[in-house]
Symmetry: C2
Subunit: 665 residues, 2 copies
């Protein structure tokens, strides 16, 4: 499907990109030093857009639900990321080309070469090669090397296709075997790359002056939030459910970042960790508020059957029929959708894709990505995972910290179970140095085992317990040292480890999608094709109002200053353009900056304090007195009114945009 | 001078610190893993305070002066920080203790041991040892080891004192010599530490998969701004002066961070780079707006004479009499002062200290630090330096990028100077491979040299030029290859490298000072000494309003919800405390959180929709209807009114704060 602009024009990424750089939405970092792949700076409009999106995010999520925002460090000691699994698993497989030293991502390499061969086969068979629709999970790559028309055996074709279908499931050794078996060569050098080695994607450093304190830059903000769980629960006065939230930079050392702003090494994330009781089906008290929100879903079963058909369905129904695992997850999917809509994501370019079983971390219960459509394909911009109790459990196990909730039970419950008493006075002296290990092994015995041992004790007067590392590994304990009894205990509290629902936003990716989704050119109105427009919704637009004096006439200066101060005092960001360029050129520049409104100060303004207000998208203008214009601006920025409302209420101003310089007396 | 609380009570740092941690303003990062020195997380109130201070900073500086905000990466390739001087110079000297492996900062070590010996000497001489007022430039350290009463020779005392006076001026080798010469031993092990080695304070990492791309985490945000200078000037439509600004994390790998939140390894900075034409005395067009702002200054001359006397002086006068180098620097000092005042810095605990000549970077023209007084001494929180043209010059030289301003001259100027023409057709063939080097050497000749050479050419028919690396280093060029003439040229433009005035804010340090400056306990009113209060000004307070229902009676719930939504809709952050604790306890908790206002919802509210509004600082209450209460809250938060005004306008509510649980029907 061809990508089009907001106004249905064919989309040209190079043109948009050059405009974004010209207007300094972004710029490659360290460009005067030649730049560094995967690192970008935001210039003033990019920076303001980001600040506005973050501000709305904070209002939409943090303030709306009284989330507990925290700011944790990016520097993280290795031990924490070892526990979380990142040190061992947060890696890609890479190969080195022995001839030119190129570093290649192994899975991408195998995929590209096999695809190239399959294309060559089709060409040889005289089949027209049609680029299939992009696989949502894979980034589009320029295929390496040229396609040679070589026919393959039917069996080989089938082998290749099977490999490609499960390319994400191979480990490094298996990828290496594929490279050898099929003699896959780097087209740039015509040699096989070296066997794949794991490359951890975290940036490593040392914390402090001694080299024995390795650390990493965090690859996500989540771990800092988990480690503070107990304190946050205390801060929340022990009330469940609750959520923490964090906005901050994360870092991933991509092997060879491409795709511009979509795959970068340093990026802003906004993450929420919502803690919920795993009992009771993970209901959400505000689910009814969103149950009718319709989402475009691409579920797991559809993908399994090799299709990408989506369905538009109310989240209430999707949870009811089990497509989405639970209410809390569904609640956040709907809230994510509403947020993306609010900031200006094109509603026809958004879908929620469920993770396949083999894509999810082994502990995750369910996971959906909000994907936005761009010229690079469907891009994951928000992940929303049910991480179950995994993170709190591993950190609690490693540190012994009580990362759990104690809940007072309204109705105490009685629990009947096997309990074990040891005669400590005799037990220790009897087993001496092995006492502690044997005691621990006994205390760890599960209920069903205790049942059986109670019978043994009764019949044999002793039991045999497995204790690793003590003697033969089997230890006998006689009945004068131990009692095993079934007892009933009344519990007034319940302890549990909460589950975590984690909406995780890649802010930079969302910003890039906003550029693509809101871009069009005046060519669509029959105007100048070279004049770009970014139709950001007023609440996120970098600057809200452009102030343009008709010319450099001195008479306009006090009014420009007055209106500028006035707008600032009501919290509206504005910019003055009093350069000598024509009115039309000045507006044009600000259309590219996405400024939604413009005020022209002309001779009429000097006379009667009326101003014209211009709408970026239609270029229509209205004219009214100061207070009326300011009220209109406020309502457009708050989102309480749209331009169509303003046009109905206020008299149109028919003066054309003037490209030529106005002669000034 | 003893530090006191905002209400003049003796200040106890341990008590404040424990309160800040209990209320989760901050917490040591990774505490359940044992923590990591110099890394701290902010909990919800610390995070909100930080966001509010940043928001005010952006309004006070960025929006007020249309600064160009940028967001650059923290990851920085080594080459850039090599050029800026950080790779070679951003280091401290450290020693290793050979016995226990302790890492010691060399200058601190020498200082501490010599001070301990001088104290011992005084004790031996029977002189009472008085702790002198803390040196503003040095962090207070617990002196190592115990003071032994050993009398020293008078000459030795003098030597020690001279060393201490210039302790900042020794390099590593010299510090090593001092350790040997005076046999300075680590009290912990009674051995001399190993010779000092330089320890660079930047965190190093590798960018990308190959190890030949070393990088660092930025130690300041400034470099990213300098590298974007040319693009920012273009964005600003070539208009000077202008400023860029950036808010972001920076990183410094301190050798052994102490002093809690004041010396950390990862911290938020807000930096401004204001570019100004070096010609014309660095005037500032808005200087008249601040010229009467009075600052407390500690100038260089006073410090040179070993004193710390300050003077309170209007910035207009300080610039006029040359104490502060120029108007632009003075303008920012005043603006910094106004900002610190606005966010709640105690006016009696702020001074501006001028850097001594040996403290400043060699390129700096003048530098002042805004220092805030705390229990740790006077702490540098904002630096304001005139960095001259240093940064732009070194990066331009290294990369060849034109980091300069071209200014159209209103009146063209004629320049008379010596110009050189080479006969290129003959010159190249004559000198062959050396041609380029010789040409470059000739073109680099300064005016005064050209003058002399023109005479030589006239008299001798040839000149001799120094060209490194060509033959003997002297090259003769005869008059058939070269012409040297005095000519007059008319220039319509002027090129110059702007100077940079850099106000640089350590946000974390400022936040810590806000805690100390706004803290007191109810003991000062004759109340409970254990009840802390943080009297933040309403605009920066983490939460503005606490909503407390009198009890858990169902009748209050709709009103609590209603007021909560109402406050949110007018942009006021509030928190509900409907826990079962007494009203008094709930207010008390929020006094410690610095919440300035409280609304109690009681049975009267249910009847007539009136509410009480409570002031944190006086605990006084007023009562009025909803709209009146909301208007009062808005005006207090905007800073347009103070509590004294509200008390005059609205009827007092005399109901006492109740500590006991209210019985509920």
């Amino acid at each position: 499907m061809a990508i089009t602009t907001l106004r249905g024009q064919p989309f040209d990424r190079q043109v948009l990109d050059s405009m974004l750089r010209r207007r300094m939405f972004y710029t490659p970092s360290f460009e005067i030093y030649g730049g560094t792949a995967g690192l970008y700076d935001y210039g003033p409009p990019g920076c303001a857009l980001q600040a506005n999106v973050i501000d709305l995010w904070r209002k939409h999520f943090v303030l709306e639900e009284d989330m507990l925002e925290v700011d944790c460090t990016a520097l993280t000691p290795a031990e924490i990321l070892k526990t979380s699994g990142h040190v061992d698993k947060f890696a890609d497989w890479m190969c080195k080309d022995p001839k030119n030293g190129d570093i290649i991502r192994a899975d991408h390499f195998v995929e590209e070469i096999l695809e190239t061969r399959l294309k060559g086969d089709k060409t040889a068979r005289g089949v027209k090669v049609v680029e299939k629709e992009e696989d949502p999970k894979k980034k589009k790559k320029k295929s390496k090397g040229t396609v040679e028309a070589v026919k393959l055996d039917d069996a080989v074709v089938q082998e290749y296709e099977e490999i490609l279908a499960k390319i994400d499931n191979y480990n490094g050794e298996e990828l290496g075997e594929l490279i050898k078996k099929y003699d896959l060569k780097n087209p740039a050098t015509s040699v096989q790359p070296e066997p794949p080695v794991a490359f951890n994607l975290m940036f490593q450093t040392a914390i402090g002056p001694s080299s024995n304190a390795p650390g990493f830059l965090r690859p996500e903000t989540a771990q800092g939030q988990f480690l503070n769980f107990a304190k946050l629960l205390e801060f929340n006065q022990q009330q469940m459910p609750f959520a923490s939230a964090s906005i901050g930079k994360s870092f991933r050392n991509e092997i060879s970042p491409r795709s511009g702003l979509l795959r970068v090494r340093e990026f802003l994330m906004a993450e929420i960790e919502h803690y919920v009781d795993p009992q009771g089906g993970k209901k959400h008290s505000r689910f009814h508020e969103v149950k009718d929100v319709e989402l475009v879903l691409l579920n797991r079963h559809t993908q399994l059957s090799g299709k990408t058909n989506v369905e538009k369905i109310a989240i209430g129904k999707a949870v009811a029929d089990g497509t989405v695992d639970n209410e809390t997850l569904g609640y956040f999917l709907a809230r994510i959708h509403l947020f993306l809509k609010k900031i200006g994501v094109d509603q026809s370019k958004i879908r929620f894709r469920q993770h396949m079983a083999n894509e999810m971390a082994h502990y995750a219960a369910d996971c959906w990505d909000a994907e936005l459509q761009t010229s690079y394909g469907w891009i994951e911009c928000v992940g929303c995972a049910d991480r179950s109790a995994y993170d709190l459990t591993v950190h609690a196990k490693k540190t012994g910290a009580p990362l759990m909730v104690r809940e007072r039970l309204d109705t105490p419950i009685s629990i009947e179970q096997w309990e074990i008493d040891l005669d400590k006075k005799k037990f220790g002296p009897f087993f001496k140095k092995d006492g502690k290990a044997i005691e621990a092994a006994i205390e760890a015995l599960p209920q069903e085992k205790r049942d059986a041992l109670a019978q043994d004790l009764k019949s044999d007067g002793k039991i045999t317990v497995d204790v690793e590392g003590v003697g033969s590994g089997k230890v006998e304990v006689s009945k004068d040292l131990i009692v095993i009894e079934r007892r009933t205990r009344v519990e007034n509290t319940r302890e549990f480890t909460p589950n975590v629902i984690e909406p995780s936003f890649g802010i930079g990716r969302i910003l890039y999608c906003l550029y693509e989704h809101n871009y069009w050119t005046r060519g669509s109105d029959g105007g100048d094709e070279a004049r770009g427009v970014l139709s950001f919704p007023p609440p996120v637009a970098p600057t809200k109002v452009l102030l343009v004096p008709l010319s450099s006439n001195e008479a306009f200066k006090p009014l420009v200053k007055y209106m500028s101060l006035k707008l600032r005092s009501v919290g509206v960001s504005s910019r003055v353009d009093d350069s000598s360029a024509s009115i039309g050129k000045r507006y044009s520049r600000n259309d590219e900056l996405g400024t939604p409104l413009g005020i022209t100060i002309d001779f009429q303004s000097v006379k009667d304090k009326t101003y014209t207000l211009r709408d970026r998208d239609s270029t229509k203008q209205v004219r009214a007195d100061e207070d009326t214009i300011l009220a209109a601006i406020k309502s457009l920025i708050d989102g309480t009114k749209f331009w169509a409302d303003i046009e109905k209420e206020l008299p149109a101003f028919e003066g054309q945009e003037i490209d030529a310089e106005i002669p000034v007396r």
